[in-house]
Structures are given as C-alpha cells and as structure tokens.
C-alpha cells in the first residue's frame, strides 16, 4: 500500500516509510505479546466474574422451575424484594453498622496518624506496625476473641467493668447492644489500613504550608482545620466511601458472633443474602440473588463515582 507511493518519493522520504514499516512490525509483535500476557486474566475474569454476573442478571429476571421453560418475569423479583421488610431491615442494619464504624475509624485514624507524624523514626515505625497488626486477624478469629471478651464469666469487658462496680452485662444476646458490640471488632480490624493511608496523605502535604500557617499565627487546631483537612479532603473522601462500602458488606463478624440475631438485629445485607442462599424454600435463591444485585447496583455505582472522582482529581493535580 505504501509501496505505490514509494517509487515517486525522493530518497529522503524512504527512511520514513521504513520507520513506519518497522513500527507497524513491532506493533504487530506487541499485539501478540500483549494478548498472551492478558489472556489468563481475561479468561479467569470471564469465567469467574463476568459470566456469573450475567447469569445472576438472567436468573433475577426469569422464573426457573424444573418442569417448565424459564419464563421472563421482568422486575417481578425486584418488586418482591423491595416489598420485603426483612430486606429493608438488612439495609438498615448495614447502614447503622457503617454509621457506627466509619466515623470512629476516620476520627481515630486521623488522630493516630497525626501522632505518628510527630514521632521519631523508630517509634513511628513501631506504632505503624502495631496499628497494622489487627488487620491480619481474620473475621472468624476476631469474632471468637470478642465473643469471649464479651462473656459474663471470664470475659475481659465485664471483668474491667466489674472492677469499677458496673455490670455484668450481656452484649450479643441483647438486641439493643448486639450491633454496637459487633461494630467494635469491625473498628479494630479496619483501623490499621485507614491510619496508614491517612498518614501517607499527611506526609504528602509540604511542610512549608505549615510553616506559612504558623507565620500567619495559626495554632495547632487552626493548622489542622485550614491546612491538613482541606489538603486531605480526597484521602478522607476515599476512606469514607471505601470504609462505608466495606462496613455495609460486613459478614464474617455477625455470621460467627450472632448468626444475625437476636431477632435479626445484626442481620447485615450480605449475611441476609447468605442465609437466604442456604434456604431450601422455592425462590429463596432467586430472592437472595436479587437482593445481591440490588446491593451491587447501589454499591457499584457509589464506588464507580468515587473512583472517577479520585482519578479525575489526580489528573487535574498532575
């Protein structure tokens, strides 16, 4: 194709075609290498993520039974779910758990990260590792430990309270306290990563900003309010949204600690999906799956928005 013009071209143009041809050649080679390198990822995601998602969408809009062909029922399951008080209870439990967990994590992480920033290298290193350590404990083990800590005989919490003459209380069997009792291990498990991310954000703020603020006569609190928080806005937003999404999806803690009880007081959305999934009554699986999809639409949308926000902001900042 380029050969037809090649004859008319002067000697000076020839290298250009040659370069173009070589670039095309390496481009083709890139294609093959690239496809080989992303093939495992694309295949695995297709089989274990994208196909199951499509299949879930299909199952949530078709009525399946053994003796009939699948019948398209449109949004019928969705209306059914939205009509179910247990669904709204689960949403409310998830939201309340997030409200108990996320602000506490953010506030504590902010406080601890500010502290670490002022420490010497060795002490800072020690505290960073210490605060991260709970992160590696599994939800199951955290559940077991905190269940034990809440016990009335031999439990640490009642032991301490008893020492100052209060209690003993029951925690996990009391519908009013069970959810806050689950929020505590959730905070304990989640605080490490948030603190480290917050600290990284704080260390990115140039020290000159603080010096300038100090020259203007800003005290410690004023510096936090007018320098740290505004410049940390994106990190805070990111941590708020990801923390929120994680907290709403909490499942291991209520599954092991309370099984969702007492009287559904700790039935988080994912635990609800899980228990419905194991329910043998007809349409329970379709129901569970539709709940999962509704949650996916809402949470997926939120995380996509936040992802855009963080990324676009990065592009603006350079």
């Amino acid at each position: 194709m380029s050969g037809t013009h090649g004859g008319a071209a002067s000697a000076g143009v020839m290298p250009v075609t040659a370069v173009r041809r070589r670039r095309l050649g390496s481009h083709l080679r890139d294609n093959r290498t690239a496809y080989l390198m992303i093939a495992p990822m694309v295949i695995l995601l297709s089989v274990f993520v994208i196909y199951p998602l499509g299949y879930a969408l299909y199952l949530s809009t078709f009525e399946i039974s053994f003796y009939k062909d699948p019948v398209f029922v449109g949004p019928q399951f969705y209306w059914y779910v939205l009509d179910s008080p247990r669904f709204w209870n689960a949403i409310s439990v998830g939201l309340r758990l997030a409200v108990m967990v996320v602000p506490v994590i953010l506030a504590l992480a902010f406080l601890i990260a500010s502290l670490i920033k002022t420490l010497g290298r060795r002490l800072a290193g020690f505290l960073k590792t210490t605060i991260y350590l709970p992160t590696v404990v599994s939800g199951v083990v955290a559940s077991v430990v905190f269940t034990f800590m809440y016990r009335s005989d031999g439990g640490l919490v009642n032991g301490f309270l008893g020492a100052v003459g209060i209690g003993p209380f029951t925690y996990l069997s009391n519908p009013a306290i069970a959810l806050p009792a689950i929020a505590v291990p959730a905070i304990w498990l989640g605080i490490g990563v948030s603190t480290l991310i917050m600290l990284a954000g704080m260390l990115d703020i140039p020290e000159t900003y603080y010096e300038a603020a100090e020259l203007e006569g800003a005290g410690f609190l004023a510096q936090i309010r007018y320098v740290t928080i505004p410049l940390l806005k994106n990190v805070l937003l990111f941590l708020f949204v990801t923390g929120f999404i994680l907290a709403v999806q909490q499942v291991d803690l209520p599954l092991v600690m309370t099984g969702g009880g007492p009287v559904d007081a700790t039935m988080t959305p994912n635990l609800f999906i899980f228990t419905q999934f194991k329910d043998p009554t007809p349409y329970a699986t379709s129901f569970s799956l539709t709940v999962a999809l509704i949650l996916f639409f809402v949470l997926g949308l939120i995380s996509m928005l936040i992802f855009r926000l963080v990324r676009s902001d990065k592009a603006v900042d350079g």
Partner: protein, 273 residues
Amino acid sequence: MRRRPLARLATFVFVLIVAVSALLPVAWMAIAGFKGKTEVLATPFQFFPEIWNPDNYLQILGDPVFVQAMTITFVGAVIFTILSLGVNSFAAYAFARLDFRFKRALWAFCILPLFIPAFAILMTSFVVVSNLGMLDSLAVLIIPGVASAFQMFFIRQFYLGIPLVLEEAAMIDGASRWTVFTRIFLPLSRAPFVVVGVASFLAYWNAYVWPILTIQNPDLFQIQQYIGNFRQERGNEWGLLMAGSFLSALPLIVIVLIFQRYIVNGVRISGLK
C-alpha cells in the same frame, strides 16, 4: 520549652494507649490459651493465669485435623499468591507498556470487577464452580480469586512509574518485550509484589464464607473453617479455642513482622495519593 517534658509524657501515654488497645485482643487470646479449663472462665476475671500451662497449645497441636487444616491452608495460600502475582503482573505490564488493538475495551473489561462486590455473584459463582466439577478441591479455593482487578491496577500504577529509558536501551539491543518484562520489570517489582503478595496470602488465609460453601471434605478444611466449626461444636472449651485461634493467626503475624517495612509504606507506591 517549659511544657516540653509534659508534651513528651502526653505523647508517650498516647502511644501506649494506642499500642495496648491494638494488641490487647491478640495478647489476651494468646494468654487465655495458657489457662486451665475452669480458670479461663473464672469470676472475678484474671488477666494472667496462676500457672502458665501449655496443655491447650500441646493438645491443639496434637489434633491431626488442626495440623492438616493449617498445612493445607498454607499450601493453598502459597499457590494462590504465586498464581495471582503472575496473572496480575502479566496483565499489568501489558496495560502499562504495550500498545495493542482493543486496549481500551480490554482495560475496561479487566477493571470492571473492581465494582462488583463478591456477594453479588456469590450464588452464581457457586453454580459455575459446581458445574465445572470443582467443588471439594483445592482448585475451587484457588482459581476463582486469582485474577484481581485491584492487584492488577496496583501493579500497573507502579509499572507506569518506571522510567522508559531503562527498557529503550534494552530494546535497541534487540531485547523482546518478554525479556524486558522478565529482566527489567520483575527485578524492580519487589516492593509492589510484597504488598500485593501479602494481601493475597491474607485474603486466602482468612477466607471463611467461600470455603464453607464449597468444601465438605474434612481433609480439605481450611483453617478458618476449622475455627468456625470448633466454635460451633466445642464452643465451651475456651482455653483450647483461644490457643487454636492464636496459632491460626500466628503465621500472618510473623509474615507482617518480616515484611513490615514494605507493608507500612505500601500505600505510598500504590499511586492512590
């Protein structure tokens, strides 16, 4: 300068409070494992045992099911970590450096799972793995989670930061893209690989819901499954349960202590901020 000793004391107290609250549950679990059957439930409660008794630890380590669960989970976690590092870093390199047709579409495809919560596809993933005959095998625990949009994204961010001059020199010398990847990118990947690898290992080791759905065979029980079952079946042997729980978390604690420098600085190379 007058308030300096006071400020230092306040800092010290604060560091102490933070460290103690972070470590207390783990320490208490380890200590409760040394208590006898009645002592562990004694009222009024005592933090330390009268006599440090290693019986619980010896008994749980003598339980072949526990040892097997630890071993098989460890083996699975190692295979899982290696496979995820391979699969995700290959794709990360291709998206960071190579130019190919349908790149944008394939990128969107590979990044989409970032927005799909695991529970949205829990049930249909279960149907898929059971149709593939993968139930009750190590494969069902390992394969479905290997490809990770998040890890691929993380490694790609790191690769984007590697200067182009390094590979240009090699490619002028006639090195192939593959050689560039294995000789230049992989040796530079230690830091992100540690962060991502530890995250993979943790995710596998701590998984609970997926194993209890897909594994019925006691020979393949995962460690969290073992602890969960123990809690349900022998839930009142608290000393034993605490010893087992602590031992089950110990490998992860050791891993974090080994790699602490990489992990606590991991967020800085993530390109998150």
